[in-house]
C-alpha cells in the first residue's frame, strides 16, 4: 500500500463515524449557545480542545456555576482515557518526527484511534510512513466536520424555537457516550455506583460531589474486575 492509498483508505474507513460526529458537534454548538457562550467562544473551544465529551462536561459545569477548577478537573478526567490511546499508538507511530507526533496527538479522537489501531493490528507488515498516512487520512475527515458542524449548531441553535427542550440534548449526548461503555459487568458496576453516589452527594458544594462519585465509581469498577479475575482463577472454578 502506498502512502496515498493508505491516506485514502483511512479517510474511507472513518467515513461511517460522520453519522455520530455531525449530530454530536452540532448539538455541542447548540448546547453551548444555550449555556450563554457566543459563537467565537464555542468555536474556540471546539478548535482548542476537539474532545466533545469534555467540552460538554466543561460547559455544563460552568453553566451550573461550578468553580473553574472543578470544571477543569472533571473535563480533564473525561479525557484521561486518551493517555491509554497515546500509549497504544507508540509502537505504531512512535518513530515519526516530533512535529508529526504533535500533530497526530492534537488530532487524536476515540473513533479514529479505534479504527487505526485495529487496522495496524490486522496489517502487521505496514511500514510506519504508511501507518502515519492512514492515521492522517482518518483524522482529515473527522476534524473539519467537527469544526464545521459545531459552527452550524452554534449559528442555527439561536434560530430554533425555545419549546424544543434543547437543554435535554446535553444529558442525551452523555447517555449516547455512556451506553457503548457498558460492555462488561465491572463497567455496569462503575456506572451504578457513579449514578447512586451522584445523587447521594448532590448536596456537596462546588460540584465536588461529582468528582467524589467518579473516584468511588472508578475504584468500584477496578475492584469488581479484580474480584471477577480472582473468582475465575480459583481452583475448581476455572473455565
Amino acid at each position: 500500500m502506498t502512502r496515498a492509498e493508505a491516506f485514502r483508505r483511512g479517510f474511507l474507513d472513518c467515513a461511517p463515524f460522520l453519522i455520530i460526529v455531525v449530530p454530536f458537534s452540532m448539538l455541542f454548538g447548540v448546547a453551548a449557545r444555550e449555556a450563554g457562550l457566543d459563537v467565537v467562544q464555542v468555536m474556540a473551544m471546539s478548535v482548542l480542545v476537539i474532545a466533545g465529551a469534555s467540552q460538554f462536561t466543561a460547559v455544563t459545569l460552568l453553566a451550573e456555576n461550578a468553580p473553574v477548577f472543578v470544571a477543569l478537573l472533571t473535563a480533564l478526567a473525561v479525557n484521561l482515557r486518551m493517555a491509554m490511546y497515546s500509549a497504544a499508538l507508540v509502537p505504531h507511530l512512535g518513530h515519526a518526527p516530533l512535529g508529526m507526533r504533535a500533530l497526530m496527538a492534537y488530532l487524536m479522537v476515540d473513533q479514529a484511534y479505534a479504527v487505526a489501531v485495529r487496522t495496524y493490528e490486522d496489517n502487521p507488515g505496514m511500514p510506519m510512513a504508511v501507518k502515519v498516512a492512514y492515521y492522517l487520512g482518518c483524522m482529515t475527515l473527522i476534524c473539519p466536520f467537527w469544526y464545521g458542524f459545531t459552527a452550524v449548531g452554534a449559528v442555527l441553535g439561536q434560530a430554533l424555537p425555545a419549546g424544543l427542550s434543547l437543554d435535554f440534548a446535553v444529558p442525551v449526548c452523555f447517555i449516547a457516550l455512556l451506553a457503548p461503555l457498558l460492555r462488561s459487568l465491572p463497567h455496569v458496576v462503575a456506572a451504578l455506583v457513579s449514578a447512586l453516589a451522584a445523587v447521594a452527594f448532590a448536596w456537596v458544594p462546588w460540584n465536588l460531589g461529582l468528582i467524589a462519585a467518579a473516584v468511588l465509581a472508578m475504584i468500584a469498577g477496578a475492584q469488581a474486575e479484580l474480584a471477577l479475575a480472582r473468582r475465575a482463577a480459583r481452583p475448581g472454578r476455572a473455565a
Binding site: 453519522i19 473553574v68 479525557n79 499508538l89 444529558p171 452523555f174 447517555i175 457498558l182 456506572a191 451504578l192
Partner: protein, 109 residues
C-alpha cells in the same frame, strides 16, 4: 451566565491539558508503560464520570426549575436502551424523539 474570565481560563487550560494527555506517551514518555493499577482504573473513567454528570441533569432539570419531569425520565431511558443496542446516533434520536413524543401526547408541546 458564564463569565468571560471563567470561560477563557477553562478553555485554554483544558486545551493545553488535553493536548498534554494526548501527547503524553506518543511525544514525551515514549515506550514506557503505565503502571497496572492505573490502567485498571483508567478503563472505568467514562463509566464512572458520565452517570454522575447525567443523573442530576435528568432528575432535576433546570428547564423545569429543578422539578422531576416524567417525560425526561422516559426519554432518558429510551436513549439508554437505544445506546445499549449499539448506536450512538440512535441513542440521540431515541432520546430527543421520545421526549417530543411524550410532550406531544401530554399536550406540553
Amino acid at each position: 451566565m458564564i463569565s468571560d474570565a471563567a470561560f477563557w481560563t477553562l478553555t485554554v487550560c483544558l486545551g493545553i491539558g488535553t493536548f498534554l494527555i494526548r501527547f503524553s506517551f506518543l511525544g514525551i514518555l515514549g515506550g514506557r508503560t503505565l503502571p497496572g493499577w492505573l490502567v485498571i482504573h483508567l478503563k472505568y473513567v467514562g463509566a464512572a464520570v458520565f452517570p454522575a454528570l447525567v443523573v442530576p441533569l435528568i432528575l432535576w432539570p433546570d428547564a423545569t426549575g429543578g422539578d422531576t419531569d416524567p417525560a425526561r425520565l422516559i426519554a432518558a431511558a429510551a436513549a439508554l436502551l437505544a445506546g445499549l443496542r449499539g448506536s450512538v446516533a440512535g441513542a440521540i434520536l431515541a432520546g430527543m424523539g421520545t421526549l417530543y413524543l411524550v410532550q406531544f401526547l401530554t399536550g406540553q408541546l
